[in-house]
């Protein structure tokens, strides 16, 4: 029986409070009117502010066809030149998106950890894995964040859908109105799929499906602990298999809807896999870190260094897998050099140089070199160190997916970003460890594979 320590609870609350304060402070300082933007730009010796007429475009290539401006509020024709007023308006919209995007990224980051952890959990049942049953309660604890996390995401998507914020450019009704001067042929062509009611309906169905599986999986696991035969284990197996089929379709569509549609003109056919690899490596890292934490507190005494070794192997392997997909996406687009595709990477490389290359180092080179050695994968502090860098790296990866689409050049890594990250970290810790403390035991009692897991050695 695990009890939530006062220190951990207190740190979680401190994270949330400090996060909320940082967010509020920075939010108050963000420009609210075009005059504020003008003042900000002149204070920075603004590159834009000096010229009265500035050519619009987040990169040289964005104007190659009718309007790739990823921002709400303006629709640029080829070679469109923005007046100073339009430029200020545009920049203001970017600043208005900044706090929303910061919340969205942090909320999605922890949500995707819980979701991928659920998928990893289902894989353990579906594959009848013998090494992992000792870790199943830890995974169930982490997936406890799925329900609150997905509700928060759904609320954020609804706010976008009701035009409280303008993160999703395609939600602007003027873009699909043929009589409007903002009319965008490409987005109008996609409006059969990309429209607010269908978008929210999809989100609702996906979230419902994932949470239903999580509900039944935990219920079956609890029943199996009390059971005298393997009936409930078999039910867990079936539920896991069905969920995995549902998951791999919905995860892919979720990544198009919730992330890729932020750049509504751009598309990549392996985006679903790319997001999947990123969330999977984060989830396994969190499983390893929570396991190491609980073990250091004297729980999970049957978990040995071979279990940690296996988790670290997964961290290593999924980091490589993530890189493979990241590079596959990058190389094909770089090679073919088609304007509407390549603009995605040009904005990121030119305007987000440090986060873009930094996250390749953090997510690929760092885990590659650190976790390659077999002995290092058994050292807890090594796994935790690598894990922290991997988690931060994938946060930056998500930052790179969202921010260039919503905030464009007006990005910075300020208090709103740190604040929302801290807030959701606190919430995540709070929910995960509260859920763990409610379990009777952190060790499954009657899982048919538990003996194999206890004697697992590499």
């Amino acid at each position: 029986m695990y009890t939530l320590s006062k220190n951990l609870k207190l740190s979680a609350i401190i994270f949330m409070v400090v996060g909320a304060i940082l967010f509020a402070v920075d939010y108050a300082m963000l420009p609210k009117t075009t005059a504020d933007v003008e003042a900000l730009e002149s204070a920075h010796g603004g590159g834009h502010g000096e010229a009265h007429e500035v050519p619009h475009g987040d990169s040289q290539l964005t104007e190659a066809h009718d309007g790739d401006a990823p921002m709400a509020g303006d629709h640029a024709e080829g070679g469109h030149v923005m007046s100073q007023e339009e430029h200020l308006e545009h920049t203001l919209h970017q600043y208005q998106n900044k706090p929303w995007s910061a919340i969205y990224i942090a909320a999605f980051f922890f949500f995707m950890i819980a979701l991928a952890c659920l998928a990893f959990y289902a894989i353990q049942y579906a594959s009848q894995a013998g090494w992992s049953p000792l870790l199943l309660r830890v995974m169930e604890g982490i997936t406890a964040y799925l329900l609150p996390g997905s509700i928060i995401i759904f609320v954020l998507l609804m706010l976008s859908g009701f035009h409280i914020n303008h993160m999703f450019h395609w939600m602007d009704p003027a873009l699909v109105d043929e009589s409007s001067d903002k009319y965008d042929k490409l987005i109008a062509g996609k409006s059969g799929y990309l429209n607010v009611p269908f978008f929210l309906a999809r989100a609702f169905v996906f979230i419902l499906g994932w949470n239903l599986y999580r509900f039944f999986a935990v219920k079956f696991a609890k029943k199996q602990d009390e059971a005298t035969d393997n009936r409930w284990h078999k039910k867990s197996f079936k539920a896991a298999a069905i969920f995995l089929v549902f998951f791999i379709y919905t995860e892919s569509i979720m990544s198009w809807d919730w992330i890729m549609s932020l750049d509504p003109h751009w598309f990549s056919t392996l985006f679903g896999w790319y997001v999947f690899a990123g969330m999977m490596v984060c989830a396994i890292t969190v499983i390893a870190m929570v396991t190491i934490y609980l073990k250091s507190k004297g729980y999970l005494e049957k978990v040995n260094d071979s279990h940690i070794h296996d988790l670290a192997k997964f961290m290593f392997a999924f980091s490589i897998f993530w890189t493979y997909l990241w590079f596959s996406q990058f190389m094909l687009i770089w090679y073919s050099n088609i304007p509407e595709e390549v603009t995605y990477f040009i904005t990121r490389i030119e305007d987000y140089t440090v986060p873009f290359w930094g996250m390749v180092g953090m997510n690929f080179i760092f885990p590659l070199l650190l976790l390659m050695n077999s002995d290092y994968k058994r050292k807890n502090w090594f796994v935790v160190m690598a894990g922290i860098v991997i988690l931060l790296g994938h946060y930056v990866d998500l930052f790179n997916m969202v921010m260039p689409a919503t905030v464009g050049k007006s990005w910075s890594f300020g208090f709103v970003e740190v604040g929302s990250l801290l807030f959701f970290l606190g919430l995540f810790i709070m929910i995960v460890f509260t859920s763990l403390s409610k379990r009777k035991s952190l060790e499954p009692k009657r899982n048919p594979l538990i003996e194999e897991s206890k004697h697992f050695h590499y």
Partner: protein
């Protein structure tokens, strides 16, 4: 020096593992264990030094990566500059994404092949080499532990090995003169 060895045969890998641990507890010297398949943890139980093949593998991988870079630079940039996807920049680094698959493949190729060759050399294996296997049944379903009898009473040793689960025990006079 005429020494003798004992060949103890086992029919199960778990029994063998326990027997190896028992024998090590008595501080007897195990010359070699012959098994039909790799037994997990046997090397640790026998007290063998950890393998260094992973280090050679890493070095071979680095060599492969270097060969790929030098080769592609010569072929595609210096000797006969190629127009890569409309990017005739005469620069390796600017065309690097196109070479990454080759860099990856040659890294794996060098690491894998040279590692296997190293393993053969280190194990003194070469084509047409006569097998050193003392008992052909170890290629099918038997496990054989070879123990040095130097300074020990062979009968006592044999009795002890039977208690560890050996199904057959042979005393072999050493072939080496």
């Amino acid at each position: 020096m005429a020494s003798t060895v004992i060949h103890a045969l086992y029919t199960d890998d778990d029994v063998l593992m326990n027997a190896v641990k028992e024998v090590k507890k008595k501080h007897l010297h195990i010359n070699e264990v012959y098994t039909p398949f790799p037994v997990h943890g046997l090397d640790k139980a026998m007290g063998l030094a950890p393998t260094r093949i992973a280090i050679t593998s890493f070095m071979y991988g680095c060599l492969g990566l270097t060969v790929a870079i030098v080769m592609m630079n010569f072929i595609m940039i210096e000797d006969w500059p190629q127009d890569i996807g409309g990017k005739p920049s005469f620069s390796y680094i600017e065309n690097m994404p196109a070479f990454v698959p080759i860099m990856f493949e040659l890294t794996v190729f060098f690491a894998a092949h040279l590692m296997v060759i190293t393993f053969y050399l280190r194990s003194k294996l070469w084509p047409f080499k006569k097998a050193e296997n003392p008992d052909v049944r170890t290629t099918d379903d038997h496990f054989l532990m070879e123990i040095d009898t130097a300074g020990k009473d062979a009968q006592e040793l044999a009795d002890f090995l039977v208690t560890t689960g050996a199904t057959e025990i042979n005393l072999i006079a050493n072939q080496e003169a």
